[in-house]
């Protein structure tokens, strides 16, 4: 079945938008893994927590824009607590136990969310300034999706500037590369770890706040986005923010076209891509060999 060119373009846009959302969630995860060697399952929990915090802030204040700031900060603080008081204690047991701990946190977060907000999906009100749609190529395209795109790009630019240009950013990059060495050179590595973990959590929460109105806010949302995020990290490479961007866009567009062209097999595409990467470049497109 042939579609008009416009439809392909629109689908590509859909894919890029979703890809940006994936990037928001994947960026923090890949940084934490690259630097601390921990596959942080709690990350999905923070994403979900962000969505729920966002919902509450909007419900309480009526202001969506406020939630974009408050929710990530709140979750970032939670993330800081988790790193400082839980994760750090199991560091000496090895990576497997760190992973398991973050997993326990993820589970507990899922249950906390159900406890305080209930099991049913919640709908978050999009502010009037972002509702409605734009007319592109003969189709109507929702403003909110463009907003997601804009957010993603903004975060990407800020993150890139921060990591590449500021001293802290350079320290973080060094720590991703070789935490031990950086510590030996006098940097307070625990503080860097704490910072990256907290910021990563905040980023995930931001993704959650933004995703809430788009994908709906429900207890299983963390787990659902996790698969795509995993594939992004595998394809993009661990520790590489740039890889996360490229991979997110690839996965987003791939999913989009998959749903359009072969809806039954849409899921398979990303796994095929992942399998190919695993054979051809096992460390991901931009990952570093250990």
């Amino acid at each position: 079945m042939a579609y008009s060119f416009d439809i392909y373009l629109i689908q590509a846009l859909h894919g890029i938008v979703y890809g940006m959302l994936l990037f928001l969630v994947a960026a923090g995860l890949t940084l934490v893994f690259g630097m601390m060697g921990v596959l942080n399952f709690a990350h999905a929990g923070f994403y979900m927590l962000g969505a729920y915090f966002g919902y509450s802030v909007v419900a309480w204040s009526g202001n969506f824009w406020l939630s974009l700031i408050v929710a990530p900060i709140g979750v970032g603080i939670c993330g800081g607590f988790v790193e400082r008081f839980l994760l750090r204690k199991v560091h000496t047991f090895g990576h497997a136990y760190e992973l398991l701990l973050t997993f326990g946190v993820f589970l507990a977060t899922g249950e906390i969310v159900k406890w305080f907000w209930g099991n049913a999906p919640l709908s978050v009100q999009i502010p009037p300034s972002l509702s409605g749609s734009l007319s592109i190529l003969g189709a109507t395209y929702p403003y909110y999706r463009l907003f997601i795109l804009a957010c993603g790009v903004a975060v990407l630019i800020l993150l890139a500037l921060f990591i590449l240009k500021t001293r802290i950013g350079i320290t973080v990059r060094a720590a991703v590369s070789d935490a031990g060495m950086v510590g030996a050179l006098g940097t307070n590595v625990p503080v860097v770890f704490l910072g990256v973990y907290a910021v990563g959590s905040a980023l995930a929460a931001l993704g959650g706040v933004i995703a809430g109105p788009f994908l709906s806010t429900y207890p299983g949302m963390g787990l659902d986005i996790l698969t795509d995020v995993f594939v992004v990290i595998v394809v993009g490479g661990f520790g590489s923010v740039f890889g996360a961007v490229v991979a997110s866009l690839m996965i987003g567009v791939l999913q989009s076209y998959g749903i359009l062209l072969l809806p039954k097999f849409a899921l398979v595409f990303e796994y095929v891509l992942m399998a190919i990467i695993l054979i051809v470049r096992p460390n991901g497109l931009f990952g570093e060999k250990e």
């Binding site: 839980l86 589970l107 507990a108 406890w115 698969t227 899921l267 796994y271 695993l278």
Partner: protein, 329 residues
Amino acid sequence: MKPLLTKGAVALVLLALIALAPRCVPVTHVNMLSEIAFFSLFALSFNMLFGYCGLLSFGHSAYFGIGAYTLVLILKHFTGMPLLLALFVGGIAGGLGGLLVGFFCVRLKGGYFALLTMAFNQFFFAIALKWRSLTGGDDGMSLSRPDLHLPGLGVFSMGRPANVYYLIVAIVLLCVFLQWRLIKTPYGNAVRAVKENDERAGFVGYNVYLTRLSLYAFSAFFAGIAGSLFALFEGFIATSVIDAQMSMQVTFMAFIGGVNSFFGPILGAGVYLYFTDWVSRVTDRWEFVLGVLFILLVMYAHTGLIGFVSLDKIKYFLRIKAGIKGTDK
């Protein structure tokens, strides 16, 4: 004085208890014991990878589920096949799944490996969910339990809990024995060497990739057997048999019991099943309790509960009870 409480004596007592259980114990407990049996096998298969080779297979329910679905499908479409063979084929199917996943994943380290096994787990789950014509999707499939024909011994209906119990326990004990023995072979030694220093193992002539891949396939085989037994026991399966939660459960069981000991996962399965059974009756928030307890376990008792159970401690306890003085352990 010859010690009364040797490992052999304990084993015999346990075996006797296991054999007599259906006669002494109400049916619900017999069913619980059956569950503990095949979940133990599942947890042991998980620990073959983690405890003995350092590979964290976080998506292990894939092979459990493949085994379960295979059994149901075989019994549905090949009605003539003997039950034991069908169970075995379930294991083989699981093993093949492991071979496929292992092929991609086993080269990679630690967290990367764990993540990928999860991703593949999701892949198999998605297939089970979407291929409704084959698997029934989230409605699931039921199976009618065939009779067990043992040449020379007769025909046993699998409708009786006691029969199912004995079959499950017998198969699990066999598998446990095979695993236990495998560890003591040169192959088991190679697995351990790869765990302790995979670089040096390679330089000494061990094919690390093949060792890990084969171990993964063996582990998946045993998980598949456990899954087949699960299907036989339940009489009904749905996508919950192959989902992320099932993978979580087996991970919990192994760690609660203790991953540094062979029998730890068995203890873990028992504790987990009894505990979740009890706690879910006490509160609706039992999953939260589980999550918190798990966090505490990882932080404060990461070697598992088996550390609190040992033959020496049992002897000591019995001596105190008997009022014997002195504590030569």
